[in-house]
């Protein structure tokens, strides 16, 4: 019997392990136009937190809204500790390989600094062209959650077998009392 409960616990935890999977997508944090292109950036998780977060880009033709396949994209994230004081800068390229959705390009970013960041996106080589298109927008990174919440699901796991076990025992007691 105890082995059964432990195996059940591990099966549930195995299935739960997928919950933390990181993926591109999430919520739109910016959408804007520059020249003939329209850029939409998604962030995951929502809201973005310090630690790892994912920025994904969908580039479309401004008029037809057809997704554009061939282009290069570069991100610069600049943190502002307080007004105008530069304290941290992250530069990274975006690529299609790290995006699950093949329409998007994405980048996995890691930082420990919460607060307001300025994101600059530069898109070039659109369909083989030489123009650069630049977009800029603010991004608010919220502080890391209390560590407890990262593992709350694991801590609560024994509740499942415990409640089932208790329900069975209480029922047995009720039956014995009614007899």
């Amino acid at each position: 019997m105890p082995r059964a409960w432990i195996v059940l616990l591990f099966c549930v935890s195995f299935l739960c392990s997928g919950v933390t999977a990181f993926a591109d997508g999430g919520a739109v944090v910016f959408s804007g136009e520059s020249g003939p292109v329209r850029a939409t950036l998604f962030v995951e998780p929502v809201p973005p937190r310090v630690g790892q977060f994912d920025l994904s880009l969908l580039l479309q033709d401004r008029d037809s809204l057809e997704p554009i396949a061939a282009y290069g994209a570069h991100l610069t994230l600049t943190s502002e500790a307080f007004e105008g004081d530069l304290v941290e800068q992250i530069e990274t390229g975006m690529d299609r390989d790290s995006a699950t959705n093949a329409l998007l390009q994405s980048a996995l970013i890691e930082t420990e600094r919460a607060g307001r960041w300025q994101v600059t996106l530069v898109v070039d080589q659109v369909n083989g062209g030489f123009h650069e298109y630049s977009f800029s927008f603010p991004l608010e990174l919220v502080p890391r959650r209390a560590r407890f919440w990262d593992v709350a699901i694991w801590i609560a796991l024994p509740l499942i077998p415990l409640l089932l076990f208790l329900a069975g025992r209480i029922r047995r007691v009720a039956r014995e009392l009614s007899d």
């Binding site: 019997m1 105890p2 929502v46 809204l65 997704p67 396949a69 560590r147 990262d150 593992v151 076990f165």
Partner: protein, 778 residues
């Protein structure tokens, strides 16, 4: 095909966990289905595997295909995904009558010791009965659909992966319950008349129509997320929403209609069953899970279920290797050489722990491997223990025929030495002192040599060795145990070679008689008994981890021994004390006590702390809990004293404590495994065998803990808690006269166990480092 369509078709999200689960389910089903077919079970038709695999493929398509990837961009794609999960996959799975084949398809041990007990459990049966009740299943299905379509929740699921997974899981579970009532797969019998299925489906269809109409005819976008995402293929968010509603409407209605027609045809073809319900009512109120077990026993019972347990020694190759005395000697020699290196480096090397073999090998690698070995197998370190290698020589030199003094034939000495070891660990900061570590190894050798040399048998192992006793207690939760393969063979044995020894080899040096052995206590896994038995009746058998601690009958008297209780108490409380003394709040408390009380003598303070936390406080807590449980529930006559009652429950704490030991030591192993290379490199460089790599030393120790480590640690605690709670309940059942009393008594102990679990979680969540072992600062 345009480039964006190409992008659509190649956007697959592979989830290894899900894929593995689906493949495993397919294999189990096919295995069980074939076994049932071979036994002539005519209920299982060739179409069923097709339906089952179809159901699994539909789940895979819904959750791993471009449908999943694009569900955040287009509502219609998201709706199609939900349609597959709620209307296509569940009926297909149930049409395959999967429960019996999945049960029969499981390996025998897993079926008998895991699946069947789980299905027999009263709580699981209650849950099964509730979820397959037509009213509950209908409400669950309908409410799940409506609640998740509320804009707030729907939006949350679109922007959070965890919520999205929760949404899909609840859809699938609710739909499985709903369609179970409709299909009533074999071996279940309908609990209501087949006619009930008609309004059941009709009403579900009606509410589905209302929900889809709401989406289709709404003049505003209900889910703001779809207004913010870029529009693909020039489709407005409102059009997308209307198409999604239409998909839900048409797709859902089609499936409802199909199911209604099927139910109607079934009723038409079986008019005789009207009075008694479609396939007849369940004969008992035992619930669906028992029906599955009953049929599995009827259909699957033709296969002779061997009574034997899984035996490690029966595995070709491994078994042969383990049986050889030379294997043990080889392992002992390897560890002896390692111990030699530890002593050498501890005495001659630098007094910097992370680059000294004496600072890392015992305190990071050996402890980690030791507990993990105990967790997954058994007490294999005692088997490879280097201290006992020169035993024969010691006995030859010092006589070795004296009897161990009678007044020391208990666990008091070992329990005291174990507590002393924990005191030394804290007071002398052993983890940070290669020199002390080296001398402890030397002292250990000397003590085992002298004691084994003077006294008969394995006196040092059985009565003295604190490390061995730590392992004896931990191995009470291990899955492997040296035991007789067939009790009947032992019953007819007259030579008792396993204890006395015989022509095949010496008997047990710890005086353990295999037929009477009920646990791993005092067993060093030397396998002398295995080699000595002329009938090859001793093996390394697999047991349920709690079998050893949940002894009944005569076994319960064992745990009433006060010396043994002291040993268990030290083992359990030291798990918490040893881990807690590593974390910042406790270190800060110690420093503040030393300052506020102006204590200069740290070993004295540590000694007082050890006495308080290893003995006094835990004993008082146990005593108080025992008193409380006696107030709540009257005990059986005979267990009159509180102390006896507390001792009865003490074994229940071992699994939780062992889980904490595992989590603690595995943490150090996982985060600082690289120190072995750094220290090895440093030692080789000292002897001019290699050049010194500073980078290796700087990166090897106390690296940042990977994100998976804490969940694994907590998972270990989860398992320990479950086993502990179960053992406490078994004890409560033994101690009381009725189920109600057992539950009341257990609840008191359960609260204590839950509190200890919370304490352990809190300890593990604190930053924990090997103090003093970080090379660069820290």
């Amino acid at each position: 095909m345009s480039s964006d369509w190409q992008a659509f078709w190649i956007s697959w999200r592979f989830d290894p966990g899900l894929s593995l689960s689906l493949v495993l389910a397919a294999i189990l089903y096919l295995r069980g289905w074939m076994r049932l077919r071979n036994r002539g079970a005519r209920q299982f038709t060739p179409g069923q595997p097709v339906a089952f695999f179809g159901g699994l493929v539909v789940i895979a398509l819904a959750l791993q295909s471009p449908l999943e990837v694009f569900s955040g961009l287009l509502l219609q794609v998201h709706m199609l995904q939900h349609l597959l999960l709620m209307f296509i996959a569940p009926p297909l799975l149930w049409l395959a009558a999967p429960e019996l084949p999945l049960l029969v398809g499981l390996p025998r041990g897993l079926r008998r010791q895991v699946a069947v007990p789980l299905l027999r459990d009263e709580g699981v049966r209650m849950l099964g009965r509730a979820l397959t009740n037509p009213i509950v299943a209908w409400l669950l299905f309908v409410l799940t659909g409506w609640i998740w379509h509320l804009p707030g929740l729907y939006n949350r699921a679109l922007t959070s992966n965890s919520w999205h997974v929760a949404e899909h899981a609840s859809f699938l579970i609710a739909a499985l319950c709903f369609w179970h009532v409709v299909v009533a797969p074999f071996p279940h019998t309908r609990r209501t008349s087949r006619w009930v299925v008609l309004p059941y489906l009709l009403l579900a269809g009606l509410q589905g129509t209302a929900l889809s109409a709401l989406l289709t005819f709404s003049d505003r976008v209900l889910y703001p997320h779809y207004q913010t995402v870029p529009r693909l293929w020039n489709m407005t968010a409102l059009d997308d929403q209307a198409i999604a509603g239409a998909i839900m409407w048409c797709g859902g209605s089609f499936v409802y209609l199909l199911a209604l027609s099927w139910a109607a045809v079934e009723i038409w073809n079986a008019p005789q069953a009207l009075a008694g319900g479609g396939r007849g009512r369940a004969t008992t109120g035992s619930g669906p899970s028992l029906a599955v077990i009953r049929h599995s026993e009827t259909l699957g019972g033709h296969v002779a279920e061997k009574p034997s347990r899984w035996d490690l020694l029966a595995i070709p190759g491994i078994g042969t290797l383990l049986r050889q005395a030379a294997t043990r000697r080889t392992l002992q020699t390897i560890l002896l050489l390692t111990a030699g290196l530890i002593v050498l480096d501890g005495v001659l090397g630098p007094a910097i722990s992370p680059i000294n073999l004496a600072g890392v090998l015992p305190w990071i690698h050996w402890r980690g491997v030791l507990v993990l070995g105990l967790l997954v197998a058994g007490n294999f370190f005692c088997m490879a223990c280097p201290f006992t290698l020169p035993r024969k020589m010691a006995k030859h030199l010092l006589g070795g025929n004296r009897a161990w003094p009678a007044f020391l034939r208990s666990k008091w000495l070992a329990a005291g030495l174990l507590a002393l070891f924990f005191w030394a660990y804290e007071a002398l900061a052993l983890w940070d002192s290669p020199w002390w570590t080296a001398w402890i190894v030397v002292t250990y050798f000397a003590a085992s040599f002298v004691i084994d040399g003077f006294f008969r048998g394995a006196a040092f192992c059985k009565y003295v060795c604190p490390i061995g006793h730590f392992q004896f207690v931990a191995s009470l939760v291990s899955p492997l145990q040296v035991a007789a393969r067939d009790a009947n063979v032992c019953a007819t044995c007259t030579t008792h070679d396993c204890i006395r020894g015989g022509p095949q080899g010496p008997g047990c040096q710890s005086d353990l008689f295999v037929p009477q052995k009920t646990n791993n206590l005092d067993c060093t896994f030397c396998l002398d008994c295995v080699r000595a038995c002329p009938k090859d009746n001793v093996g390394l058998l697999a047991f349920v981890p709690t079998d050893q601690l949940a002894a009944t009958g005569d076994g319960t008297r064992l745990w009433q021994r006060r010396d043994l209780a002291a040993l268990l108490l030290v083992f359990c409380s030291a798990a918490f004390v040893n881990a807690a003394w590593m974390i910042a709040p406790v270190v800060a408390l110690e420093q503040s006590l030393m300052q506020s009380w102006s204590i200069e003598n740290r070993p004295l303070l540590v000694g007082c702390g050890i006495l308080l936390t290893l003995f006094a406080a835990p004993a008082a807590l146990l005593w108080a809990t025992a008193a409380l449980s006696r107030v709540f529930a009257p005990q059986r006559a005979g267990d009159s004293t509180l102390s006896a009652l507390a001792r009865s429950y003490l074994p229940a704490f071992v699994p939780l404590a062992f889980a904490l030991w595992c989590a603690h030591y595995a943490f150090h192993l996982f985060t600082s495994a690289g120190t072995l290379f750094a220290a090895g490199n440093r030692m080789l460089a000292d002897w001019h065998f290699a050049s010194l790599s500073e980078a290796a030393a700087a990166c090897a120790c106390c690296g940042e803990a990977a994100s998976w480590i804490l969940p694994v640690e907590i998972l270990l605690l989860d398992g320990g808690l479950c086993l502990s709670l179960f053992l406490a309940y078994r004890t409560a059942e033994r101690q009381t006269d009725s189920s109600a009393s057992a539950l009341r008594a257990w609840s008191v102990w359960a609260v204590l166990l839950l509190a200890l679990f919370a304490l352990a979680v809190w300890i593990l969540m604190q930053p924990m480092q090997m103090r003093g072992t970080l090379v660069l600062g820290g």
